[in-house]
């Protein structure tokens, strides 16, 4: 007796590793969904969490802007005054710090989840790269936030940042082109302290605007992404932020006036907002810059290894009625409705669906939405599916008939 059994294809090592990570993430989501409910699962709403945390950071940041002056003489005093004398000032400051930390955690989890579940391939590689641009930007904004009070820790971190930015100048071969000076020029080419602080300030606030713009471009065309948190999750997030902010208050002892003669070798930072800084004392600026660039390029090139294998959907000009259901349902915005090519139909206002090949991920949702059979995935067409169904039913009937014959049943 022979059986034909379909074996799952055995993918390569990288894909197996990624799939196992994906299963871990899915398991986490599954148990979280049991706990939080299907519609309020934060592990499935990572993007919306990021947007919400950005909003909280922006609001608390603007509230602090009412009390902060970006001059070297008054920066520390204004922050101290904010923390001590302004009503709810220390809470707002702690909320800002906490939301920034959670923002970085959320972005990293968002990155991991979307990598592990393979949501970066094909047309989604554009989103992946834009997200990868936003990640270091947020990190740099966090770093600049530490520098803004212009205290001891700020000065140390400023020096570290300068070393990392100018680090590429010391690379063996490429350093000859002075890439570090080019990178560091916009921010560090100043002649006095006041200008330096202003540039850091512009980076912090202006960077937030650029981050918002990047998020706008990151949101995929198509059905609107779930970029809004449900109310329940908002309330939970707010409570979490308040609890953490209350438990880990910012101390004013951190704000020591800068002492040029006694710089500490290490300073206390929240490990999450700018985690590469943790490695600075170990690696030094040049090597750290190299590591960061390596990791970033590696991540950005990942989609190249998984190009489209399944052909995109195709539309039948004869059968398409222009109802637009596929246009509504396509999650990638890969369908546009355009006036029909046939002049007679066009004169009657008939439209036809057009597939944008660059955006199609061959998911087949458009196939499910078409009642006229006008859109098909060439890899798996309706005719084949229907013939499989009929074949299965027919085979079963024949088998049953044979058995009834052999058993003597009419």
């Amino acid at each position: 007796m022979k059986r034909l059994v379909v074996k799952s294809s055995r993918p390569g090592r990288y894909l197996r590793f990624r799939e196992s990570c994906g299963r871990c993430v899915s398991l986490l989501e599954f148990y979280a969904a049991r706990f939080f409910g299907e519609t309020s699962n934060p592990f499935a709403l990572t993007g919306a969490l990021i947007v919400a945390l950005m909003v909280v950071s922006a609001i608390t940041g603007i509230a602090m802007l009412l009390h902060y002056t970006p001059t070297p003489e008054t920066a520390v005093q204004s922050v101290r005054r904010l923390t001590d004398h302004v009503y709810l000032g220390s809470l707002v400051r702690a909320l800002h710090r906490t939301s920034a930390d959670l923002l970085v955690i959320s972005i990293l989890f968002h990155l991991f989840r979307n990598w592990a579940t393979g949501r970066y391939t094909g047309p989604r590689s554009r989103n992946w790269v834009i997200g990868l641009l936003a990640l270091p930007l947020i990190g740099i904004i966090g770093w600049s936030g530490y520098v803004l009070p212009w205290d001891e820790r700020g000065m140390v971190l400023l020096a570290w940042g300068r070393e990392i930015a100018y680090g590429p100048d010391q690379w063996p071969i490429l350093g000859w082109l002075r890439p570090g000076s080019i990178i560091g020029w916009p921010l560090f080419s100043v002649s006095n302290e006041a200008d330096q602080l202003l540039r850091i300030f512009a980076l912090h606030v202006g960077g937030a605007f650029v981050a918002i713009w990047l998020v706008l471009r990151h949101l995929r065309p198509g059905t609107p992404p779930r970029a809004r948190l449900p109310l329940a999750v908002w309330i939970g997030l707010a409570l979490l932020l308040l609890v953490i902010a209350a438990m880990l208050p910012l101390e004013n002892e951190d704000l020591l006036t800068f002492n040029p003669f006694g710089q500490p070798a290490t300073v206390r930072v929240d490990a999450l907002v700018s985690f590469p800084l943790l490695f600075y004392p170990i690696f030094g600026g040049s090597f750290l810059a190299f590591l960061i660039l390596l990791v970033w390029i590696g991540l950005a090139w990942l989609p190249r290894f998984e190009r489209r294998k399944v052909p995109a959907a195709v539309v039948s000009e004869i059968a398409c009625t222009g109802c637009g259901l596929c246009y509504n349902d396509c999650p990638y915005g890969a369908i546009a409705m355009m006036p029909h090519r046939d002049p007679l139909k066009r004169s009657r206002g008939r439209e036809i669906a057009k597939i944008l090949l660059r955006s199609c991920n061959s998911c087949g949702i458009c196939v499910g939405s078409c009642s006229f059979g006008a859109i098909e995935l060439p890899a798996l067409m309706t005719g084949e599916i229907l013939s499989r169904i009929e074949g299965a039913l027919r085979a079963d009937r024949e088998t049953t008939a044979k058995e009834h014959l052999s058993e003597g049943v009419v």
Partner: protein, 375 residues
Amino acid sequence: MEACDLFDGMAAFERKRSGLGAGSTSADFLGQALWVTLAAVVVSGIGLLAGYTPTTARSFPSVEYIQLSFPLGWWLRGVHKFGTDLFVILAILRLIRLAYRRAYKFGGEFTWQAAVRLLLFGVFAGVTGYLLVWNQRAFWMGGSLAEAAESGGIFEQVYPLGGLGLSEWIPKGPLGDAAMSQGVLRGVFAAHIALGFLAMLAAFYLRTYPRKEVPHWRRYSNYVAPRVQWLVIGALTILALILPPPLGSHSDTLLKPYPILADWYFLWLYRLAEIVTPAVALTIVGLIFLIAMYLPWLDGSRRKGPRPVVTALIAASLITWMMLTLEGAGWELPNLASLVLTTLVWIIALVLGAFAENWRASGRGKKGDEEVRSP
């Protein structure tokens, strides 16, 4: 009837995407230009952030530095200022177009309200930005605005600002007028940046979520035709070159200039405050705001299509506004004459509008617009 979208680049984007060519037409110019202008203002604002110091002592010198010595500072400041003016003009034109096409009904209410809010953001961002220069003009204008708010009285009771450290909001200067202090400057600075954020968030919200009467999901619609981009940026750059925004002189708490001039979009308010007391002027402003926000529900007619009465009223308001602005800028006219003129304008507008409405309703106008039956 195609309802207007705030960022009407959608139609052009779909045309381009469907491969039938023809990017933008004049119908979507407003939306695309609005978006480019907003982007130009935000980007130049970020550049200005790197040169501006928000302290009372150093704000004016830093603005001078930006204008004269900062690399491309003249361009940044010029684009920022004229970009804001252009933004306000485009937002007003947008509102006019929405109103006379009567696109604020039947599902367009949110778009209308968003357009009103965007205009308000633009105007208040412009005012706060104006104050940030901290020259004579800005200083005293801010003072008079603050005075008006104080004398208005209602606002202080509505907003308990003391709790957030803004209790020094309206201190008194040596001349007895409201003077602007460091706390006020910080508050204005924060408000300016907050309004920039709000404008971007409003744009994001408008883009991502669809309008109800449109059956499809609206997609990512910030498509701007290249020629619109070049046109707007080019126009702003040329303006920045030939008409550098004035610097004036450093603010002096002891020298009060006369007349105190505001932004051109607030001159009407000055004039109004001179005619009636500031308190009444502010109340009128509040009424206008309410009418503007709730116009879709005030206009209860179920008929589709433009209504001549609404168009006439809008024309009358525009003419009044222009007259007030001109008078605020110094164009002299005896009070009585201007009053009579304004009243005439409104009476003519109402009469014409009523006639046109009747003519249309009796069917002798265009093929009568059908009544909208509730589903």
